[in-house]
Every structure is written in structure tokens, then in C-alpha cells.
Symmetry: C2
Subunit: 352 residues, 2 copies
């Protein structure tokens, strides 16, 4: 393994000059710089990671904690991990995976031994145990997700409330009077972070706009085909003419299939908007309007914040909510009174 002194000799300069040439932390004459670069290339030199960590005070590594719960949606999760890794690499950082059963163990370890410069927290739960730990350690920590107790934390997330409100607004503007939300499996409304936020925002905005509203989940522990079909039935029974979907890709497909089987067309008979999806709703059997959760948006920002917390202008604690964007795929239409609507509005929700 070639070391810095060999490069220095080959280039006919001192060790420190090589170091500075590589870090760019002080001006180097063009000629010297070229000789050094040549030597580096020819020898295939790459600064020893350990020595760098010890001498400098940067490790160029971020930890990523992800306490894989059983209800974790693998594809979405993977998209976040990947987006984080890519954003990190773009900034010359590597990513260390922390999947310890005890989420705190790994975090505590890397905070104590200085293996990483910052910690990125994924898959944040409302009562996340990592919150307390993050306050106790000095390693900068960025949350991708918003825990209940987020006082003093740096958090990044899609503005789920805003996204949901935007969806409801679009439907209300299109003249729909009864709207339904097809959500995640029941368990997600206890263990996860954003599903409850979406549901609450949905109901709140619906009431604010004077709409009746229904809510149904897509399973108990995990998304199930039958439960999802049933959800469609529940919403139709309640007279909903527009659905907001906040569920898995599979559930989206099942909803579309069920509607087709019922002979209902999108958007003529039912309007559909997807909220917080991290897959391409334009690639579904029927392309859907969407207010997507873009992993890259959250992760890029998180990595940026992590890097900034290592420098001078440390980011203020607080929530960074990413503004929702509406992607139209013509799956929402103005309600033509009477068309395809049941006569009885059902029992749930206020009937203005």
C-alpha cells in the first residue's frame, strides 16, 4: 500500500506539500501540483483512511441507523438507503450501516469511538428511542422523519400534512363532497411516524372544507389484498367519489383492479390522488395524480445538513419540511353531480 512519503519522493517535494496539494488547503504552484498529481496517479496512491481519521478530525463516514421493523416496506426503505448513500458519495462520504437489534447500541458505539462524522436516522418512530440518545452524544445527528418529541433536533421530511391538505383541496376544488382515505395497515398507525399525520391532516382539511370523509386501512399487520378490496368497498359505501391513497404500490394496484371490476372508471366515476408514494404512480395500470415522497429530496437535504453541522454555520435545530409538489396524471376530474354516486352518503363524517 503506497504511502504519502513515496509520493513525495517521486514528485520531489515534501510530504506536507503533497498533503496540501491533495486537500487544496493552500496554494500550490501549477508545476508542483502537476508533478504531484502525476506521481499520485502512477503510484495509485490513496491516503490511508485510519491515518486520516486520526490526524485530521474527519472520518468521511456517516452512520445510517435503520432499525428494520417487521412492517418496514422494503422497496421504500431501500430507496431511502440508496438515496442516502448516493448523496453521501457525492460529498465524498461513505455510509456505515447500523442495523443493531438495539438501535441505540450502534449509535452509541460510533459516537463514542469517533468512527463517523455524523449520524443519519432513518425509519423514525413517533416515540423513537434514538431521540434521547442523540441528545446525549456530541456526534451531529440528522433525523429523516419527525419523532413526536423533536425539541432541539434537526429533522427532514416531506410536509405530509401539507401534501395531504393539498390533495384534499384539489378534490374539494373539483367539487367532490365525500372523500375517502385508503391508508396503511393498522399497525402503521401505532408504530410509524407519518401515517397518523396523514390521517389527521386528511380529516382536518376535509372538515375545514366541509367535506364528509371516510377512512379505511389496507390490512392489520401488513398490506393484504382482501383488506384493500374491502377498503374500496367501505369508501364507496360511504358515498365517496374521490379517494386519497396513502398505501403501498401493491395496494394502489389492487385499488385500481377493484375499481375496474366494479365497472368504475378513473377519473369519470372516481377521482384518485396518491399521497406520499415513493414509486412512480405514472407507471400504474391507470396513471395517478400524485404528491410523491421523493427519497432523494429528503436524503440530499439530510446529507447537506449533516455536512453543514460539521462546519461553522451549523444548522439550527428544527423541522425542515419539504414542500409538496403535485404531479398530475389526469386521475382527478370535476364531479358531475349524480354520475356514479350512490344516493345515500353513508353514516360517517359530517354531512354539511
Amino acid at each position: 500500500m503506497v504511502k504519502i512519503n513515496e509520493v513525495a519522493e517521486a514528485a520531489g517535494v515534501s510530504i506536507s506539500t503533497v498533503s496540501y496539494a491533495l486537500s487544496g488547503k493552500r496554494p500550490i504552484s501549477p508545476d508542483t501540483r502537476r508533478r504531484i498529481e502525476d506521481a499520485v496517479r502512477e503510484l495509485g496512491y490513496s491516503p490511508n483512511a485510519g491515518a486520516r481519521m486520526l490526524a485530521g478530525s474527519r472520518t468521511q463516514i456517516f452512520a445510517l441507523t435503520e432499525p428494520l421493523r417487521k412492517d418496514t416496506h422494503a422497496p421504500t426503505h431501500m430507496a431511502f438507503v440508496l438515496a442516502t448513500a448516493v448523496a453521501a458519495r457525492r460529498n465524498d462520504y461513505d455510509v456505515l450501516l447500523l442495523t443493531d437489534e438495539d438501535a441505540k447500541a450502534g449509535m452509541g458505539r460510533v459516537a463514542a469511538n469517533g468512527l463517523v462524522d455524523a449520524i443519519l436516522v432513518l425509519d423514525v418512530a413517533p416515540d423513537d428511542e434514538r431521540v434521547k440518545l442523540s441528545r446525549a452524544i456530541s456526534t451531529p445527528t440528522i433525523f429523516i422523519g419527525v419523532p413526536d418529541d423533536n425539541e432541539g433536533l434537526v429533522c427532514v421530511d416531506l410536509d405530509f400534512e401539507g401534501a395531504t391538505a393539498l390533495a384534499v383541496d384539489r378534490l374539494a376544488d373539483a367539487g367532490h363532497r365525500i372523500v375517502g382515505l385508503i391508508g396503511q395497515p393498522d399497525v402503521s398507525y401505532e408504530k410509524s411516524n407519518f401515517p397518523p399525520r396523514v390521517r389527521a391532516s386528511f380529516e382536518e382539511r376535509a372538515e375545514a372544507r366541509g367535506l364528509a370523509h371516510v377512512f379505511a386501512t389496507t390490512g392489520t399487520k401488513r398490506t393484504s389484498r382482501t383488506a384493500t378490496r374491502r377498503a374500496v368497498g367501505q369508501l364507496r359505501d360511504a358515498g365517496a367519489t374521490a379517494f386519497v391513497l396513502h398505501c403501498t404500490e401493491e395496494a394502489h394496484a389492487v385499488v385500481l383492479g377493484e375499481l375496474a371490476e366494479l365497472g368504475l372508471r378513473v377519473p369519470d366515476d372516481v377521482s384518485l390522488v396518491s399521497v406520499g408514494a415513493s414509486f412512480d404512480t405514472g407507471a400504474l395500470a391507470t396513471p395517478l395524480d400524485s404528491i410523491p415522497l421523493v427519497p432523494e429530496a429528503s436524503c440530499d437535504l439530510a446529507v447537506d445538513l449533516a455536512i453543514r453541522s460539521l462546519g461553522e454555520d451549523r444548522p439550527e435545530p428544527g423541522l425542515r419540511l419539504i414542500a409538496p409538489t403535485y404531479v398530475s396524471n389526469a386521475s382527478v376530474a370535476a364531479l358531475v353531480p349524480g354520475a356514479g354516486v350512490h344516493s345515500s352518503p353513508g353514516s360517517e363524517g359530517p354531512t354539511p
Copy 2:
């Protein structure tokens, strides 16, 4: 961040004694050891990672390269990553994620800067570009999967050929004369490693046992419901009374659904065996016999090999194929001649 000299002072011993007490590399008197351990605990000491890497020659980090292709099955993939991370932690190792677009870039980097002790290669392709690189670097590399050109490599994998042959044998032993294989999407037979191996082994063993055989895929680029249903039809049309499944969890479910819709019972009308599944086939609507791919088995072994390649008894290059295990769930029955079988055997495959 507390350092070793503070621990030494607190315990009233020398720095080296602390180091040895922690590494266990030389005998320490019980009394001294206790005082050191107390000091470590009270001060919350954890040896600086960078210093350790520099002074010792171990980083306690493994790299995990995973060039996420678009056809990667996220849940399976995640299971492997998780299993690797867990196995690594059990051996006091952390895992660094290498997801660089150019798979070779990351591997080359960590090999050159000494950031990791060994590299674990996931998601191995038949013509994997990482094979060549692994031969050029000195960092020990373990492949989880078997590339075509594996000369001199250390590879770990389920014995897919053996597993498939075992499945065919069970069906043949049960008296089935026409067997079908429901495989992955078409693309997997070009880009991936084991699907072709399973198909080849299936056909070979079927012929060896004098069985007629059919093969059908579950999609072109990705698993699709329609293609999977069609596959069931193809197999039935060919007269197959027993199916070997080598496809996603979703496809398993679709196959079961389609059979139910056709009024076919398992195992009375059709026998089913799953091969290489990394999910629980006992939890399906109809529990299925399975010769599973157990991520833990592969990953534990891979980590073990990685660690051994750092010591004296370096493992020999070569394939480590994990012996298949048959998990019975009563989804295979003896063929009652005539029952539920089409009269014409179809055109595909030899008819002995």
C-alpha cells in the same frame, strides 16, 4: 472523547496494560483487570477507531458492495444485507455500504485506502465486473453468489442445482410424470446468476428421471400478475401435475390464487414445491413445501470466511455450496393416475 491514558490514570496502570486488558492479548491479574474495567465503564471509554486502524492493522469494518439493479427484488435483497450486518456485528465488525453506480469504484477505493478488512460481494452477476477487480486488489473478497468465471474466488451460495434436483426428485418419487417450473421474469435469465442455474438443473434432472417438463416465466422485465397466471395455464396445458416454483412471494400467491380459481386443490390436484425462496412459504394461503434460500446461512458463512481470510488459515479459493434442506408443508402428494390430469401431455419436453 475519553482516551486510553485517562483510563490508565483512573485505573492506576500503564497505557499498555489497558490496551492489553481490552484486547485480551496477554494475561492480566484479576484485580488489575477489574480496576480497568471499572474505569472503562465509568468514563465510558471506547477506543478511537482511527487510532486503532492506524496502529493495529484491523479496521473492524467490512465493505458490502451491492450494485442495485432495477430488477433487484428489494425484500430479498434487504434480507441479505440485514443478515450480513447481523453476522458482522456478532464478530465485532461494522458494515460499510458500497452502492456506487460504478461498482468497481467503491471497491477500488476502500481497497486502496485500507478502510475495510474485507469485502463482501452481494448480488453477483454471471459476468460480474467485480470479479476482475477482486483479483487485482489485496483486500480479501468473498462472493455471496457464484459468477461464471469464479476461478480462484471464494464463493458462498445455496446449492441451487442440488436444491432443484431435490425438488424434482421428490416429485418424481411421488409418481409425477410431467413437471413444470414457474420461474422469474425473463430478464433474470440474462442478468442474474442463479435463475439460469435452477432452470438448467430442473430440465436436466427431469430428463434424467424420465419426466416431461415445461418452463414458464412470470413476466418480462418484472413479475406481473397476468404473466404469472398465464404461466399456470401453460403448465396445466402441458399436462403438468406438479409445479416447482422459483419466483417472488407475490408470484407464489398469484399461482395459489389461480389454482384455486381453476378449482384445483393442493396437493390433491397439483403438487407444489418452492425452490430458493427467502420468505416463509409456510405462511402462504396454502403452506408450501420449500427448499429455501436462507440468507443467514449464506451470510454467516461469508462473514466467517472473511474473518478467516484475515488470519492464518486462509480459506482455499473455491465454491462453498450450502446443502439444500427440504421443509415439508404437505403440498406434495403422490399422483393418483388420472385424477385431475389432462389426457394430452402437451407438446413440450420428451415424452418417455
